[in-house]
Symmetry: none
DNA sequence: ATTTCAGATGAATCGACAC
DNA sequence: CGTGTCGATTCATCTGAAA
């Protein structure tokens, strides 16, 4: 198990490997502030009692594994507190964490996240399109699980690829409820006996959305409860580096085989939509300097209620107000702020178009 | 403020009134083990900072009321602990509680529910069909809120009208994610100035589903954060008794007026299904739940030969026949089958139009 | 009377960067 | 650290005026 490549400033990181052992110990062995994202799917502490059969008398294969057994809420809380603290230490200042759980454990995780100073950004509902029904008719169909997305601290500059997620959602802002099918069919990994390799394997679609939306290519993603390696598989596909931690050799074995077969998407496919924020800043004055606008030219407001005149230093005058395109626009509209680039227009071919098109010309030149 | 009627074994209960004061004190003044259901919509502790403007520069009317301010998580936790303990004391042994919150507070509520011995039955996601967007593009649209349904203790025989909720969902088991619009339009209560009377008024459709699904007619439902009285209004419509507790006279005033105007549905309409039904294609029950139709409303057959009455769970009664809109239509026509959506009509603007137009409205929302 | 369009609004933890 | 400036950013629905 060797690192396939190294990154500057993270020399000791065992990238793209599966660490063998207890997740708290292993996280504590890593350098602090070295990881961009943590995705954690910890034991849910289901507290199941007895067997459950379907109406056709077939037995439900419940999650009764030893790793999901805790003696009390207090024991579960101590476990949660310890692994979250270890996770927080290795997160970069602008790193973030995702956790997933059900009503059995997610409230305790969420409260502890807040207690430790994580700053919750969203809770996200994974709405299962094909959940297991409630066979006894005693409760509502448990048709969702909850994820929590949190930055390391309040005010941190977390990564959020807004435009990419918006594009995923057909041009509409991505919401906090995600409709995705559970993991089954060909995606569900089997062991040598043809049994499911892991009782709670998560769908790759879920990780795809998480990783695409909240990391950049080349980021380091750690999963302390790696299981069969869904996080690693999607990270690899998307050109991110992963670190898995898993206690059980049986799961590691399946994960290693899986990861070896995964192919990275090519670089072009990993390009995502970006916001204007990521583009270089162009001072309005450059339009004058470069002759796109001349001192004395008139600008018209989008709503046609106001006019302004361009001056040689890149400020404008509208009515009594002088200043930047933003300041004058805000003053004339009585608004707290104003984006002058989209507010002010010029006449071109008889039509009025925002001056933003001039900025776009300059930006396209800069990209060449 | 006097009780309108009394129940056996609950002599001291101030039924169908609004108690004035702090909810913890008022709950402590009630006899223990006397209430069937508690619905609680406590302050969310939003911790907002500064103003937020929409892209068009209009200001968002934020929830900045004094009652939502807490100095710390510790202060909020103490508040939560105290009111939940008071609530648990007055619950009957087989009683249950619903709480609603957002990621700001729901994890702390859920953990404390478990700590006090409540037994979580489901967490339910209210997926808003028309949420407020994220204006800055910095996070996911906060498009849902979370409810928790819990019994007083593990093993308690809580009330769950499985068949009624299944009928409301057109023959499919009700899931843990509910798509409902936020409260606006005519349902949103205004004060004397035409401003919204309460910043966080919940939709009646949400309470309809809660109360129909987890109480029986005649049950006592207490709401310790009564606000403008949505819980009381729906409880009254559905033939349950309510007790409201509200600190603010301004809210109590609006609630009193509202409750006086609410009419109880007649007894027949409150009967809910107890047997299985065929599986139609679209949930007629949602028309009732959402207020497009009211229990007791009359439907007219296309040929004007028959009439039927709507019931609270989305079934109808025509002559001797009870069942879905399709079943009743078929029976009355002596036909093997019948499309109830086009067969049954309502009077609208003096004309009779098929109920299908109401379904179309809902469908257009569901496409979101 | 009917359609169209502009405006308003909803539980929201909603910048980045230079100086 | 604070302060000032640039400038990026919204979806579904309801209301009411205008056509």
């Amino acid at each position: 198990m060797t690192s396939t490549h190294k990154k500057k400033g993270a020399d000791a990181l065992p990238l793209n490997t599966i660490l063998e052992g207890d997740c708290i110990e292993m996280m504590n062995s890593l350098p602090e502030a070295s990881v961009d994202l943590i995705f954690a799917d910890p034991p849910y502490n289901l507290q199941l009692k007895g067997d459950l059969h379907r109406p056709d008398n077939s037995k439900v294969d419940a999650v009764d594994d030893h790793w999901d057994q805790f003696s009390s809420f207090a024991a579960y809380d101590k476990f949660t507190k310890d692994w979250l603290a270890a996770a927080r230490r290795i997160l970069k200042p602008n790193g973030a964490i995702w956790v997933i759980g059900s009503y059995h454990n997610v409230f305790r995780m969420g409260a502890e996240l807040q207690n430790q100073g994580f700053w919750i950004l969203n809770d996200v509902v994974w709405r299962k399109s094909n959940p297991m029904p409630n066979f006894r008719g005693k409760r509502l169909t448990n048709a969702h699980e909850t994820l929590i997305w949190a930055s390391k601290a309040e005010g941190a500059k977390y990564t959020f690829n807004y435009e990419a997620l918006k594009a995923l959602n057909e041009g509409i802002q991505m919401r906090s409820d995600w409709v995705l099918p559970i993991c089954n069919g060909g995606e569900r990994l089997k062991d040598e006996n043809g049994e499911k390799a892991h009782p709670t394997q998560k769908p790759e679609s879920l990780l795809h959305r998480v990783i695409l939306g909240t990391t950049n290519p080349g980021d380091v993603i750690l999963d302390p409860f790696f299981g069969t390696g869904t996080t690693g598989a999607v990270a690899k596909m998307l050109g991110r580096d992963y670190i898995g931690i898993e206690r059980e050799e049986a799961y590691r074995k399946v994960a290693r085989k899986r990861l070896a077969a995964v192919r990275r998407f090519d670089k072009e496919a990993l390009q995502v939509s970006t916001s204007k924020r990521a583009q270089p800043r162009v001072p309005f004055g450059q339009l004058v300097e470069r002759g796109f606008l001349r001192p004395g030219d008139e600008l018209y407001s989008l709503n046609k209620r106001h006019k302004a005149k361009v001056r040689a230093d890149g400020t404008i005058v509208g009515g009594e107000v002088k200043g930047s395109i933003h300041q004058v626009g805000a003053a004339l509209e009585g608004a707290p702020s104003c984006n002058g680039w989209t507010y002010w227009c010029i006449k071109r071919d008889g039509k009025e178009v925002p001056i933003d098109i001039l900025r776009q010309q300059i930006r396209s030149e800069m990209n060449n």
